[in-house]
């Protein structure tokens, strides 16, 4: 086990080996924006899944693409400008949790924290599902689709192991896939549009009646509800926008300025790619399908099924995997901040062998795998769950920024407050749209989960506060009072193990020492008394009647009687315990010792000591 862990995770790192590497903008863009930019891989398709499938008409669905893309781009601009201000206001990292905690108070900050945690889990599940879809869309790998869930779990395990090893999120290695993806998508859009509008040598994607449940031409109806629902699907493109504001300290100096510039670049790239894919899709008429992604259909139509298409799909899968990876940096870090505020178990703030918050990593991985299994690894099924958390945290963080400006009253604070206010209101509107249009198709899950998590946070905090109060002590010398010490040695058979326990008990020099043996009746009592006297032990032996051969009640009653006899005494119960050379031999021993320890743990003023007896 230890060897396996060593091989997978690597040697433990000392606390002093922690690195604080600063990254330039070029790397920062790739590292922090993979989550946001990767959503262009599935956002267009998800819009079509709602509008085209909902209206049973591909043409009607395609017609919504560009308007929705414009709306999303507008929203993106608003959110990006809002977050630029957060970056300047919180140069040490201003996640939604931090901003709302400092400006809005406990409850909003907990809602933000719960939303973010839920969303990070979904980031992993959605990105991995979409990544698997990108691979299975390559005709040569179409078999992968049958094992979607397994491949997804495999990828998650892979990322988890990599993160348990502790990969530097600032690694240059991670810059490559993001840029490769940006280049490939740009090429797809530009070459596609050139072929469509200038060369005019490209035909529409052949419509597959079997794969799409609906007609090609207009015929169905498309109401406002469906359009808004489609917009909700497109809005998932905004997930991950907040990543840069979380990671400001990772940038080279001047941190805020570099981070802000990177954020603007990210928004521009994200908006352009999203818009470009939408225009191209509108022209080439791909249909939403579970077998071949919309992006892959565009790729095949524009590039043909050659090497370029292959690289496009691989780049897509890579950036999506990388997007999942960003959640592995964010989730454990946020969980540790929350744990420092005592709303999560203290274990979440412990760094593991490799200086990563291992417990957070493992919880994230488990939750994401559960989601992938529960939803069959289908991106479309997961999307309605997504975005609720993101927009909840956007809204709270921007509202927090408004309060921040009101309190700070820095230069131009009114203008800044208005900007964040617009961001907050816009994201709130989107939140309401997402929650209402997608409530039945899955948005209810986070809406139920987030309050539950908040309740959990609060009860954890209550517990820690109670413990703190209970442990509160007025530290004076008088507090350490001498107490009488009564030592009870539990004896089963009088053998070497018992002798060892008795010698140890004597060495403690207790005020009162007694050996206790539970007996079922006369014969047993006679026998043990005789052995005791023959051996000439000078320790009192108390034989206690246990008419029903049980251990617990007679023992506890005996201890109660002992407690009654002396005020102000500690009772130490000594249990001889076998130490065997193989773990499985333990099954044959120590069962009652274990049980006794458990019972006595809950008894006040009783200490339990186990005296090992090594059997080789």
């Amino acid at each position: 086990m230890a060897i396996l862990k060593r091989l997978l995770v690597g040697r433990p790192l000392a606390t002093t080996e922690q690195e604080h590497q600063r990254i330039p903008k070029v790397i920062g863009l790739a590292v922090f924006s993979s989550d946001a930019i990767s959503s262009t891989a599935y956002a267009t398709e998800e819009i079509l899944f709602v509008t085209a499938v909902g209206a049973s008409s591909l043409m009607l669905g395609l017609a919504t693409l560009i308007p929705i893309a414009i709306a999303v781009a507008l929203l993106l601009a608003i959110v990006a400008f809002s977050y630029r201000q957060t970056i300047f206001a919180y140069p040490s990292g201003g996640g939604s949790y931090v901003v709302s905690r400092e400006n809005l108070g406990e409850n909003p900050s907990l809602v933000a924290a719960a939303s973010l945690l839920v969303d990070y889990i979904l980031t992993v599940a959605v990105s991995i599902s979409a990544g698997v879809a990108a691979i299975s869309s390559i005709p040569a790998f179409s078999d992968v689709a049958k094992h979607r869930v397994l491949v997804g779990i495999f990828l998650i395990v892979l990322i988890t192991v990599a993160n348990l090893r502790g990969i530097k999120e600032s690694g240059r290695l991670f810059a490559a896939p993001t840029y490769l993806y940006i280049v490939m998508i740009s090429a797809l859009i530009i070459y596609g549009l050139v072929r469509a509008f200038i060369l005019k040598d490209i035909s529409n994607i052949p419509f597959d009646q079997k794969a799409f449940d609906g007609t090609l031409e207009s015929g169905g109806t498309l109401g406002l509800f469906l359009i808004l629902k489609g917009f909700s699907s497109g809005a998932v493109a905004l997930t991950g926008v907040e990543a840069i504001s979380n990671g400001v300290p990772a940038f080279k100096k001047p941190e805020s300025k570099n981070a802000a510039a990177t954020l603007v670049w990210m928004a521009v790239i994200l908006g352009t790619l999203f818009m470009g894919i939408s225009i191209l899709a509108h022209h080439l008429q791909p249909y939403p399908s579970h077998d071949t992604t919309v992006l892959a259909q565009l790729g095949i139509q524009v590039f043909g099924q050659g090497a370029v298409f292959f690289v496009l799909q691989i780049a897509t899968a890579l950036i999506l995997t990388l997007a999942a990876n960003t959640a592995y940096a964010d989730f454990p870090r946020l969980a540790s901040i929350i744990a420092f505020d005592e709303y999560l178990p203290h274990q979440m703030r412990n760094r593991g062998d490799r200086l990563v918050f291992s417990n957070g990593v493992l919880i994230l991985a488990t939750a994401a795998i559960v989601l992938i299994v529960a939803f069959g690894g289908a991106t479309t099924a997961l999307i309605p769950l997504y975005a609720v958390g993101v927009f909840m945290s956007f809204t709270l963080s921007q509202a927090g920024m408004v309060r921040h400006h009101q309190k700070q009253r820095e230069e131009n604070w009114r203008r800044h407050a208005i900007m964040n206010g617009v961001g907050s209101v816009a994201t709130l509107i989107v939140l309401v749209i997402v929650a209402t249009t997608k409530f039945t198709s899955g948005a209810w899950v986070p809406l139920v989960l987030i309050p539950l998590i908040v309740l959990m946070f609060k009860s954890i905090r209550r517990h820690y506060l109670r413990v703190d109060r209970a442990l509160e002590a007025n530290l004076t010398a008088g507090m350490i009072r001498p107490r009488r010490n009564t030592v009870v040695v539990l004896v089963g058979n009088v053998h070497g193990g018992a002798v060892q326990a008795l010698s140890y008990a004597k060495s403690l020099n207790p005020n009162y020492l007694v050996a206790v043996r539970l007996v079922e009746g006369d014969e047993e009592a006679d026998e043990v008394q005789r052995i005791w006297l023959d051996a000439g032990f000078d320790i009192p032996l108390e034989t206690v009647y246990s008419p029903y051969r049980e251990l617990r009640k007679p023992l506890l009653e005996f201890l109660d009687r002992l407690d009654e006899q002396y005020e102000n005494d500690n009772v130490t119960v000594i249990i001889p315990e076998f130490v065997v050379s193989h773990w499985w031999e333990n099954i044959l021993h120590n069962q009652s010792a274990l049980r006794i320890k458990r019972w006595l743990l809950f008894r006040r003023g009783t200490m339990v000591t186990s005296v090992p007896y090594h059997i080789d």
Binding site: V514, D522, A525, D538, L541, T543, Y545, R561, E564, Q565
Partner: protein, 117 residues
């Protein structure tokens, strides 16, 4: 009424059953309930031996038996005796002696005793 009693008997804990059995026995044998034992007076009481403490110290060995009658506990202390055959956990005994107090314990020093089957 009778059914109710029988039902109660079915569900009562072994502890309660044993206790009422002991109380019945002590009342039948005309023993003073341990809870009503007065100090520094001769008393005839008894019950079940719950535990026996054997103190085999060189010179003055002693034996202490804790006797319980369902209403209270009394400790019979026998000086100079390492072991007494028959004074073992689970046995019913009748003891007669003068009651004394040590801490919260009521003691009978060297009582006369009668073992019951």
């Amino acid at each position: 009424m009778a059914t109710k009693n029988r039902l109660q008997r079915l569900t009562e804990s072994t502890g309660d059953r044993d206790r009422s059995g002991l109380i019945d026995f002590c009342d039948r044998s005309g023993l003073v309930p341990i809870s009503e034992v007065e100090l520094r007076k001769s008393v005839r009481t008894g019950g079940e031996v719950g535990s026996v403490r054997m103190v085999p110290l060189a010179g003055v060995p002693s034996l202490e038996a804790t006797i319980n009658d369902g209403r209270g506990t009394i400790t019979a202390v026998f000086f100079g005796r390492g072991r007494i055959a028959g004074i073992t956990p689970g046995r019913r005994v009748i003891v007669e002696g003068v009651a004394a107090k040590r801490g919260n314990q009521i003691l009978l020093f060297n009582p006369t005793y009668q073992l019951l089957p």
